[in-house]
Each structure stands twice: as structure tokens, then as C-alpha cells.
């Protein structure tokens, strides 16, 4: 007997303990994805004899004699399966890593199952979309039908959309990779056929069981004796160079406090040694065979304890000036102390003062694709690393610096990336495979497990915010004082940036003469925090927007009215911790007022709908309330964010755009194609975007800080505009027409009466020795500001704590929306991810420093059943700094959600929840103990 895969009997036999997922991948079925490897996420869904199963928990030996169908075998080879068509039509994906599993699951549904997607799709987790587009895909809706408020309004409110030329600015162009995504042929990091990597080795890590210890010795003998083990790397083998896993344009933005392999471990889960072997199983066995002697050091787990005198200095061995650590002996990585005006005067002038401690928890990105990379040496002996990264060019720089290599001898590429959310703005795997490949001269691969993601990747920085704010009776903010401690964990990656950024736009959006900030980022012996969607803003905005709500309540004013009175307007300086505004941040456009109005009107309509439908009384156990919050974000990170792109005319008359930025579901590939198409008078479908390869273009800082559209897009637009001119020039010389009479149209240039096809122009240019290719650059400055306002109507069951979201609405000021459907998807995804962070998600660290929530059943991310359909509205603005008027819109939709929900719960229950997450049990217990109400 044999296992039949997509109609063909497999020649291979599975290993005894192998799961079907890895067996299928070994046979080349890369559409079978690993999201969790524990049966929770459904990314590996296949059919066994027609029945859908999660192949990661299906014993492969059980498939003997059965017929397995993977995504690769779903269609008949000629046309797509209807569900694949529907996912394409509705664009029911972003990063696409979950898509094959979604499609395989939905392909088995009957009408009854389709009518109950919360139940039937709860075993398929998506971190990007917020599930709305998936619902539309599974049900065969295109996402733009008439009864759908969000789609309607997004189209109607975007002036570009009204006049959109197909395939250009403002059109709902589908993602270029759509076909590959729905057929499971899109290549993610590890989807490389074995024959392309002969001799591939696998790396597994021995991780520290201790929160703080010095490694006395590591005995490799037994590990090296394990059959298949090729090498063991310890701190004695790795480079001594200190670096930061955080990746920024300037490495000096982060403290150099990390080694590839250190002789001191500072959190449970830190790398101790890397074992490289012929198979994953042998590498695992090798890690178990290592004998490590530790000298235990005193740990400290909370930032509040870590800053006390006498606390163990976690990086006390570092030179603060060299490593850029503010006070290494006191565990302070970075700090800011600033006062604008006088908060004492401001409080004296206040009629109402709100004082509260707000706390945000550790949350994890849970990108569906875990961290993974492969390194090898190419024919020229260059180091090549294929990684799941948002920042290939910065990884290249970091590897060159770590291993003392000339930058041109390092190449970093990313395939399609299965989600990022900031988590892949780090070097967490690439340094290890580079070390091993450089040493062993063989390809080496590492893949994190889902548990490794939780215990040893990065999290959002937990913030403790002691807030005091005052308001005058006539509705003005008189003082805002914040004492902030952020917990950066064992390493300072992103600690300064997150702290500073957190204390930036969150304060600057309010006019207030008296602002005071004392903030510290503090080391603890816990899993490191890093970059996370919002980059500090979500934490601070939770506190400040909650406080704004309390102030309004305190003075008896409608909270939105209070916001309208105090929020910045064009011309107002945007001030947070410095007396002068950032010199390169401007009101390139301003739509905050529109966003507030859009949310207020939508909430009013929602309330009326409930009333009209007779649903406003849910019964005696239910209380209802509504709440809102706003947020502002600079459209580009500070201190330079660079992009080089190249646009060229190809021999077949199509265009190629080479960009550095990676595609991880952010949709920038589509945006590049649309921007270029607009400049080149063609359609996005005629643009081929090549991306995320350090050999393609000179440099690209990377896809973080929401820079994909506004920085790289700006570079692409510039290059495309110049190329359009050059093409017209060649056409003019070819036809003898005046340049002013030559007009680029789709596929050709009209020169007076003559129409010259682009292919002809390409050939003519080649004969002239002219290459029709142009370079675009953008340095990320000047910058503008983007806005998001969120509103909720909720019902709370006072008997059980159950929370129901009755209405969710977000208005966004994204400037001119390049692709309304895609932008809506970014917003919906941000809302869903934020709902998880408000309602359940928490990476728990116990009293001994262990992460206890290390699988997806312990760390619940929103499933289909958890996420309401949100209404999404766009402000009508046109930005003077962004490409064709566009602004950033990828991190920011996350930011106002938590306080909006907390404010709605406050409105419903009278209780201020200042600590996240706000789970049903906590709501119930707080209702039992009304003393939690502040003031």
C-alpha cells in the first residue's frame, strides 16, 4: 500500500512518528503550511479520502492506503475550484499563509455549514484580515455588494475611487500574487524544493531553562555522537560582536547588548547552543544530549523591581556608552524626562483631575508563518540568506557587521512572508544559519516552533503608565502628566524607539500647554519585547484616550465633543516631549475632524437601527454603552527611511518594478503596481513587481513604520514618472514628433497621428543604446500625519461578564486611498488584532520567569467567531507629502481600538478598566466589586 497524494501514489514511506504535514511537504506539497503544528490554526488542512483534517496532528502512517488531497490537487488542473475563484474574487487573504487551509476547509462546506461560519471556520485562524473578506470569499460575495456599509462607503468616500481608471490609483486592484496564493504555489520562506538545496542541514536550539545564569561549561561530546549531528555551536564559536536583534536604518538606534550566542543567559528560552544535523530529529536529539553547567544568577522579573537599588544588573557587564544603554547598573536602557509648560499650574487650573494607573500586557504578533531562514553559499562564495523578514537590507547589513564580511558578499532575500506585524523587524534566526553555513559550507535551515515564538521571539512592550490629567469645566485639557515604565525584557531591542514613539503622537494630538513625561525602558529577566504594530503608541493611546474619556465624564461633557475641542487642528504645533515640533512633520493633510464626524454619525445611525429593529433592550441582565477613541501617527518613522526602486520597460512592452520592500500581506506590491501604472498610463496587471532581494536595488530600509506606501511607493512613483518622460522622448526621436505631442497611453505612445507600440520603443531604444530604466529614491522626509478614530457600541451581561460588540466602526484618514479594498482590509485586520489584545491575548510569565501561554490553545487569538464585521469609512483628504496624496495605513488602525472598547465598557458599566486584557471574567469580577470605579 502507499499514500496517494493528489492522485499519484507516493513512493516514500513516512517515518513512524511523522505527521502527515511534514510528509506531504517532503513530497513537494509546499501549499501545506505550518502555522502552529498543534492542530489549532488549520493552515495545514488537507483532505484524507475527502474528509478535511489538520495534517499536523494526523499520524502519517494512518494515511497508508488513503487518498490525500492538498491545495495543489484541489483544482482539476484546468480551472480553479470555485472556492479558489471566490477567494480570488473577494481577495479573501492578505499574507496568504492561512489561505490554503481556508480554501481546503471551505471547499468541503455545504450550505448549512456556509450559513454558520463562526462554528465551521473557528479551526482556521487568520491574523491579517479580520475575517470579513474571508466570509465574503467563502460565501461567494465579492466584498463590494450593496448591503455592505463598509464597502459602499469606502468606495464612495474616496474621491480617487470615484474616478479610478482600472488598474490605477483608487481602483480595487487585486493582489498580483492572488493566483499563487489561492493555489498554494506562492513560495514562502521554507518552500524551497530539496533539489535546490543539496545537503541541507537543520538547526535546532538548546534554550535556557534558567532566567539568569552564567554558562560555566557546555560538553558537546554526547551531542556530536548522535547519528546525523554535524556540528554544535556555542558562545565559544560565535562572534563576540555585540549587536541588537532590532533592525533600524541606523543600528545606533538600539543598544548593542546581544551576542549571537552568549555565555550569560538572561531569560528562560534564550539560545544556549545550536545543534546542526542532517535532520530535524537528529538536531533535536543533539540538543537533548548537550550537558550544560550553569552558575545561577539572581533574576528580576518586573521593571518596578528591576529599578530598585540592589536589583541584579542584567547588563551590568556592559559599557553604557559603548552599548548605548542609559544606566546599565540600574537596568535602565533608555529614558526621557520632559516638561512643557508647568503641569503644576495646569492641575491648579483644573476643575477635574483624573489619576489612574494603566497597564498593558505582553502580546505576541502571532504571524502565521513562524520565524525561519535558510543560509547557503552561492557559486561565488557569497553568503545567501532566505528569511522570513520585513527588512532584508537591514539583515544584510547586520550579518555583514556581525561576521565582518564586506556587504557585497552578503545577499538576503525574502520569499512571500507569512505575516509580520513588527515581529520580523528583528534578526532572530538569520545570524544562526549564517554562522552555521559559513562554518560548514553547507545550506542550513532553522524553523521556529510556535512555542519558540512565544517563549523566545519578541512581544509587545508591556507599559505601566501612571497618568494624571486635568480639565477645566469649560472643556479644555489643562495638564497631562505621564510616568511610564516599559518592560523591554532581557534585551533592549526596540526599547528606546518604542518608548520615544509611544510618548510621541499620543500626546502631540492634543493641544495642552502643560505636559510632563517621565519614561524609562527597563530590563527584566523575561522574554524580550520588540517592535509591535503601533510601536508604543497602542499602549500610550490606551492610557491617554481612556483618560480623555474620564475627563469628559468628570466635567460632564460628551467625550467626542471634548476631543473635538482639544485635538490639534492644522496650524497647531504637534508637541509631546520637546518644546519645538519635529521639523519634518507637517500637516500634509488633515482629516481628523472628518474621522470624528464619520464615527459619531455612524454610531448614531447604529443606535437608531437597533431602536428601529426593536433590539435596543436586550433584557434585564444586559447594559449597553458606546465609546470612542482617536489616534494620530506620523506617516514615516523619524531619522530617515530610505527606498531605492527601479522601473523599467521590458522587451514585451510590459513594465518591471524592482523594489526592496517585502510583501507580508501589507499589500504594498499592489500599491507599487498601481502607482507605477498610474504614472505610466497603464494598468497594474501590466506591471511585474520584483521585490525583497538585496541584489535587486541599492537599499531599502524595509517594511516597517507603515513605510511601504509612503516611502517606497514615493520612490516608485518618481521613477515611473521619469520613465514615462524617457519613453516619450524616445518616441519623439523615433517619429520626429515634438515631445509635447507625444503622449504615453496604455501599451503605446501616441505621437500626433501615429501610435508607436511600447515593444517598438523598447527595440528602438536598444538600438540607440538607451536603457529605458529609471531609478527612484526617497528618504522618508518630510513626513505627514495620519488619523484613525474608532467607535464601539457594546452590551455587557452583568451576570456573567459576557461582552457583545453590537457595532464597530472605524474612520481613517489615509489621504488618497490607492486601493480602497486593500486599505479597508488593513483596517479590518488591525481592528481584529487589537480586539485580541483587548479581550484575551496575554503572554503570561509566571513567578519563575516561564512563559506559560506557549501554544495557541493557551494564547487565544481572535477566531472567526470573535470578530464583528466593522464599518470602515475614509476621510476625504489629499496629502501633499505622500505619493499621489496617499498616507500610511497599516499600523495605525490598531491603535484606537483598545481605548474605544474600554470607553464603551465604561459607558455601559460605569467601570474604568485600566488594565488589559479586559476579559469576561475580569469584567464580571469588577462588576461585583464596584470599588474599582475611579474617583
Amino acid at each position: 500500500m502507499a499514500i496517494e497524494i493528489n492522485g499519484a501514489a507516493s513512493e516514500a514511506t513516512p517515518r513512524p512518528g511523522q505527521c502527515l504535514r511534514t510528509f506531504l511537504r517532503e513530497q513537494g506539497n509546499f501549499g501545506v503550511k505550518k502555522g502552529c503544528d498543534g492542530g489549532d490554526c488549520g493552515a495545514c488542512t488537507v483532505h484524507v479520502d475527502g474528509t478535511p483534517v489538520h495534517s499536523c496532528i494526523y499520524p502519517a502512517v494512518r494515511a497508508d492506503g488513503k487518498a490525500v488531497t492538498t491545495i495543489e490537487g484541489l483544482s482539476n488542473g484546468e480551472s480553479l475550484h470555485p472556492v479558489q475563484e471566490q477567494f480570488l474574487e473577494a481577495q479573501g487573504f492578505q499574507c496568504g499563509f492561512c489561505t490554503a487551509g481556508m480554501v481546503m476547509t471551505a471547499a468541503t462546506f455545504d450550505d448549512e455549514q456556509r450559513a454558520n461560519l463562526p462554528r465551521n471556520l473557528k479551526g482556521n485562524l487568520c491574523r491579517c484580515t479580520g475575517y470579513r473578506s474571508i466570509a465574503d470569499a467563502v460565501c461567494g460575495h465579492d466584498g463590494g455588494h450593496a448591503h455592505d456599509a463598509g464597502a459602499d462607503v469606502s468606495g464612495a468616500k474616496s474621491p480617487a475611487a470615484v474616478e479610478a481608471t482600472p488598474g490605477q490609483l483608487g481602483d480595487n486592484v487585486p493582489a498580483p500574487a492572488g493566483q499563487a496564493v489561492v493555489t498554494g504555489t506562492a513560495r514562502y520562506t521554507l518552500d524551497v524544493p530539496g533539489e535546490q538545496l543539496p545537503g541541507l542541514l537543520h538547526l535546532k536550539l538548546l534554550r535556557s531553562p534558567h532566567p539568569h545564569a552564567r554558562i560555566v561549561s557546555i560538553d558537546k561530546t554526547a551531542a556530536l555522537a548522535v547519528p546525523g549531528v554535524v556540528a554544535v555551536f556555542t558562545h565559544e564559536d560565535g562572534p563576540a560582536q555585540l549587536f541588537s536583534t532590532a533592525q533600524h536604518e541606523h543600528f545606533t538606534d538600539d543598544p548593542d547588548d546581544t551576542r549571537v550566542l552568549d555565555n550569560v543567559v538572561r531569560f528562560i528560552g534564550q539560545r544556549v547552543a545550536a545543534v546542526v544535523a542532517e535532520s530535524v530529529g537528529a538536531a533535536e536529539a543533539g540538543t537533548r544530549a548537550l550537558a550544560v553547567e550553569y552558575e545561577l544568577l539572581e533574576p528580576v522579573f518586573t521593571p518596578q523591581e528591576a529599578i530598585l537599588p540592589g536589583a541584579p544588573a542584567i547588563h551590568g557587564d556592559k559599557d553604557g556608552a559603548y552599548s548605548r544603554i542609559s544606566r546599565p547598573l540600574e537596568n535602565v536602557v533608555a529614558e526621557v524626562h520632559a516638561e512643557l509648560g508647568s503641569v503644576a499650574d495646569g492641575f491648579a487650573a483644573a476643575d477635574f483631575i483624573h489619576e489612574h494607573t494603566y497597564k498593558t500586557q505582553r502580546v505576541q504578533h502571532v504571524a502565521m508563518e513562524t520565524h525561519a531562514s535558510i543560509a547557503w553559499l552561492d557559486e561565488e562564495g557569497r553568503l545567501v540568506v532566505r528569511s522570513s523578514t520585513q527588512v532584508p537590507f537591514l539583515v544584510k547589513r547586520t550579518l555583514a557587521r556581525l561576521f565582518n564580511l564586506p556587504e557585497e558578499t552578503v545577499r538576503v532575500v525574502a520569499g512571500r512572508v507569512g505575516g509580520g506585524f513588527g515581529g520580523k523587524q528583528e534578526v532572530l534566526t538569520e545570524d544562526l544559519v549564517a554562522l552555521a553555513a559559513l562554518t560548514l559550507k553547507r545550506p542550513v535551515q532553522v524553523e521556529f516552533t510556535r512555542t519558540e515564538q512565544f517563549m523566545a521571539a519578541t512581544t509587545r512592550h508591556p507599559f505601566t503608565i501612571n497618568l494624571k490629567a486635568g480639565a477645566s469645566r469649560d472643556g479644555y485639557l489643562t495638564a497631562l502628566q505621564l510616568d511610564v515604565i516599559t518592560n523591554t525584557g532581557a534585551y533592549g531591542n526596540h526599547a528606546p524607539g518604542v518608548m520615544f514613539h509611544g510618548c510621541g503622537e499620543s500626546l502631540a494630538v492634543y493641544k495642552c500647554g502643560n505636559k510632563k513625561v517621565d519614561a524609562k525602558a527597563v530590563y527584566t529577566n523575561t522574554v524580550p519585547a520588540g517592535a509591535f504594530r503601533g510601536y508604543g503608541l497602542s499602549q500610550m493611546i490606551f492610557a491617554i484616550e481612556s483618560a480623555i474619556d474620564e475627563l469628559a465624564i468628570g466635567i460632564g461633557m460628551d467625550p467626542l465633543e471634548f476631543r473635538l475641542r482639544n485635538m490639534v487642528r492644522p496650524g497647531d504645533h504637534m508637541l509631546s516631549t520637546t518644546p519645538e515640533p519635529e521639523e519634518d512633520v507637517h500637516y500634509g493633510s488633515y482629516g481628523l475632524d472628518q474621522c470624528v464626524a464619520l464615527v459619531r454619525d455612524a454610531l448614531d445611525r447604529g443606535k437608531e437601527r437597533y431602536r428601529a429593529a426593536g433590539l435596543d433592550d436586550l433584557g434585564p441582565d444586559w447594559v449597553v454603552g458606546e465609546g470612542s477613541a482617536l489616534s494620530m501617527i506620523d506617516t514615516v518613522p523619524p531619522r530617515g527611511h530610505f527606498a531605492h526602486t527601479r522601473v523599467s520597460l521590458e522587451a514585451d512592452g510590459r513594465f518591471a518594478v524592482d523594489v526592496g520592500t517585502a510583501e507580508f500581506g501589507n499589500g504594498t506590491t499592489t500599491v507599487h503596481a498601481q502607482l507605477a501604472a498610474t504614472a505610466l498610463a497603464t494598468a497594474a496587471s501590466k506591471i511585474t513587481v520584483r521585490q525583497s532581494d538585496t541584489d535587486l536595488v541599492e537599499h531599502d530600509t524595509g517594511a516597517f513604520g507603515s513605510a511601504g506606501t509612503v516611502v517606497a511607493g514615493k520612490a516608485t512613483l518618481g521613477a515611473a514618472l521619469e520613465l514615462a518622460t524617457r519613453i516619450q522622448t524616445v518616441a519623439a526621436s523615433l517619429t520626429g514628433a515634438a515631445l509635447t505631442d507625444c503622449r504615453l497611453v496604455d501599451g503605446a505612445v501616441e505621437c500626433g497621428d501615429r501610435v508607436v507600440p511600447l515593444k517598438e520603443i523598447f527595440d528602438a531604444a536598444r538600438l540607440q543604446g538607451v536603457r529605458l530604466a529609471t531609478d527612484g529614491n526617497w528618504g522618508g522626509t518630510p513626513r505627514s500625519v495620519a488619523f484613525n478614530v474608532h467607535g464601539f457600541r457594546v452590551a455587557v451581561n452583568t451576570g456573567t461578564g459576557e461582552l457583545r460588540i453590537l457595532q464597530s466602526v472605524q474612520a481613517a484618514d489615509a489621504g488618497v486611498v490607492v486601493n480602497p479594498r486593500q486599505c479597508r482590509g488593513q483596517i479590518e485586520g488591525g481592528i481584529a488584532q487589537a480586539l485580541g489584545a483587548v479581550l484575551y491575548e496575554e503572554v503570561k510569565v509566571d513567578d519563575a520567569g516561564h512563559v506559560t501561554t506557549d501554544i495557541l490553545r493557551q494564547y487565544h487569538i481572535p477566531s472567526f467567531a470573535d470578530v464583528p464585521r466593522s464599518e470602515v469609512y475614509f476621510a476625504t483628504t489629499n496629502d501633499s507629502t505622500g505619493p499621489l496624496g496617499a498616507k500610511s495605513m497599516s499600523e495605525s488602525p490598531f491603535n484606537p481600538v483598545a481605548p474605544a472598547l474600554a470607553n464603551a465598557i465604561r459607558n455601559a458599566t460605569g467601570i474604568r478598566f485600566g488594565e488589559l486584557p479586559i476579559a469576561r471574567d475580569k469584567i464580571y469580577l469588577a462588576l461585583c466589586d464596584r470599588t474599582l470605579i475611579p474617583n
Binding site: 503544528d37 499520524p59 463562526p118 462554528r119 463598509g150 457595532q807 479581550l839 481572535p862 471574567d921
Partner: protein, 311 residues
């Protein structure tokens, strides 16, 4: 995930074959989900050939290898049609209480859920709630049986000794003939159970309330006919039967919430079964022909749950 330390998969149902480093493989959904670095062999029940479900006048015998999908299909099956067993209404709500998707049900087994012995194991709730008996076979050739409510002894703990095999679960006809009620709460929609209570009013008038999920192991409150409690007596009984340390404490619910919800749901069940009032907190009850779910993502909004969005 791959279990790379496994050297052999041995098809057998014979406990005498068991040796150190072995594990019984039923559906595999738990073993392959958590993985292992110590197991050497899997004793594969996949070819046991045990009939999944055997219906007699004495009740229902579920093989340990009966899949959740097979159990879910039972209430609609022909073999059950001529039995007047109201308690069958519990089967689907209990299956729906799995946080795992219906796809997992195609592999995971009733016995596997019992042997995993999580507080939230819904097959434990179902079988304990129906006074089911578990039949166990031992490596020495002996066998024994005991109530499921005694089978699970704590969070991921049970009475099985090394090598012992759970063979089957018997749901007695007397319990199946009872009127039943079900209540469940979770911190998320359709999520892991934080509290799950099942009530049974037997034909003779006795009331049994079985508490699971909120407690580390099942707890049963039994009130014989004639001693059926009022609200106050029930609350006293809950308080007396469940000491504070028995409430489970994990990410799926704080113990204080679980305790209060246990009191609340027990009273809702009591009042429902005694016909005093019908208040339903939580999901899946009363049972529907198709599983009712809170639907917030459906393109065609359900007006029962929310007003349609739109202008």
C-alpha cells in the same frame, strides 16, 4: 507535529504489549499536538476494529476509539431512532464545546478526550453528567470499570496506571431517559469552556448536577427524589461540595469567576429542570437542529443577534 523520538508504531489492543516509553495512539490529536521527547513507541488502536457505537436497551456503549464526529452524528442516526432518550440532546452541545474545530472531530476520540483529562474536556462533561462507566483493561490481563466522574482525578490526571487502556464508556439507559439541561460559558465566542454544567432530572425525580471545566475534576451534586433542593439548598450544596482549591485556575478563567458562574449556572439548571424558570446564560442551549452560534461575521446579518449594519 513530528514525534521524532518514535521508533515504531505497533498495531495492537493488547495492554500486555505495553512497556516503558509507549503511549496508546487513538486519534493522535493530542499526542501529535503536544509532541514528546521521551516516547519510543506508539501502540496504535487505529486497527482495533471496535464498533464505535453500540446501542442496546441498556444504553449506549462508546468504544474509546469512537470519534467525536461519529458521536456527533449519533442523535440523527437510525439506530437511535426508536429509543426515547431525551438526554441525547446533550451530545451536540458537548461536541460543540470543543474549542477544536469540526475537522479535529474527524480524528479525535471520546476515549482520548477522557484520557487527556483536561478540566474542559467536553466528553468528560457528557459522560460524567450521564453517570457513564469507564471500562479499563490492564497489562496484567485484568479489567475494571468505574464511573467517569471518578476516572478524572485532577487537571490532566486520571486513575490510569502505566499501560492501562481505556476500552469503552457506557452511557446507561436510565440516565439517557432523564430530562437534561446544559449550561456553558467561555471567555471567548465558541472558545474553551471555562464552566460547563449538566443537569439531569431522572424519571424517579432525582436531580443530578455535574460540574466540569470550572473545577479541576468533575464534581457531582446528587439529590434523591423527594430531596430536590430549592435555590438556597442548591447553593449550599455547591458551596459544600466544591472547596475553593478545587476551582481551576488557568488562562481560560479566573477561579473567582468560575466559582460564581458555577453557582449561577447550577441554579439556572435547577430552575429549568424543575420548571420554575428558563434563564439561559452562555451558548449551545437549548439545543437546535443545527448548532446555533453567535454570528457576527455572517454577510447576511442575523437580526436576532444584531441590527443590520448599513445606512
Amino acid at each position: 507535529m513530528d514525534m521524532n523520538t518514535i521508533e515504531a508504531v505497533v498495531p495492537t489492543t493488547d495492554p500486555s504489549q505495553w512497556r516503558d516509553g509507549d503511549a496508546w495512539l487513538a486519534g493522535g490529536t493530542v499526542l501529535f499536538s503536544y509532541g514528546s521527547t521521551v516516547l519510543k513507541r506508539l501502540l496504535d488502536l487505529g486497527q482495533a476494529g471496535w464498533p464505535a457505537i453500540t446501542v442496546t436497551d441498556q444504553g449506549i456503549e462508546l468504544a474509546a476509539t469512537c470519534t467525536v464526529a461519529e458521536l456527533y452524528a449519533l442523535p440523527a442516526s437510525a439506530e437511535i431512532a426508536n429509543h426515547e432518550w431525551p438526554a441525547l440532546a446533550l451530545i451536540r452541545p458537548c461536541c460543540d464545546s470543543f474549542v477544536a474545530s469540526f475537522k479535529i472531530w474527524n480524528m479525535s476520540t471520546v476515549g482520548g478526550n477522557l484520557c487527556t483529562s483536561l478540566p474542559a474536556g467536553p466528553m468528560i462533561s457528557l459522560s460524567a453528567g450521564l453517570d457513564a462507566m469507564a471500562s479499563i483493561q490492564s497489562p496484567d490481563g485484568s479489567s475494571r470499570s468505574l464511573p467517569v466522574s471518578d476516572f478524572v482525578t485532577g487537571d490532566m490526571q486520571n486513575v490510569l496506571a502505566s499501560g492501562e487502556l481505556l476500552r469503552s464508556i457506557h452511557l446507561p439507559a436510565e440516565a439517557l431517559s432523564a430530562r437534561v439541561a446544559f449550561r456553558r460559558l467561555s471567555l471567548s465566542n465558541l472558545g474553551r469552556s471555562g464552566v460547563l454544567l449538566i443537569g439531569r432530572l431522572d424519571a424517579e425525580g432525582g436531580l443530578v448536577i455535574t460540574v466540569t471545566a470550572s473545577t479541576k475534576r468533575p464534581v457531582q451534586l446528587r439529590f434523591p427524589a423527594g430531596q430536590v433542593p430549592d435555590a438556597g439548598m442548591l447553593a449550599d450544596a455547591v458551596g459544600d461540595s466544591i472547596p475553593w482549591p478545587l476551582y481551576h485556575d488557568d488562562i481560560h478563567g479566573l477561579p473567582a469567576w468560575r466559582r460564581d458562574m458555577t453557582f449561577k449556572l447550577a441554579e439556572e439548571i435547577r430552575a429549568e429542570l424543575l420548571g420554575e424558570s428558563m434563564v439561559v446564560s452562555g451558548d449551545f442551549w437549548p439545543p437546535h437542529a443545527t448548532s446555533p452560534q453567535p454570528s457576527t461575521q455572517r454577510a447576511n446579518n442575523n437580526p436576532q443577534k444584531e441590527a443590520p449594519h448599513g445606512n
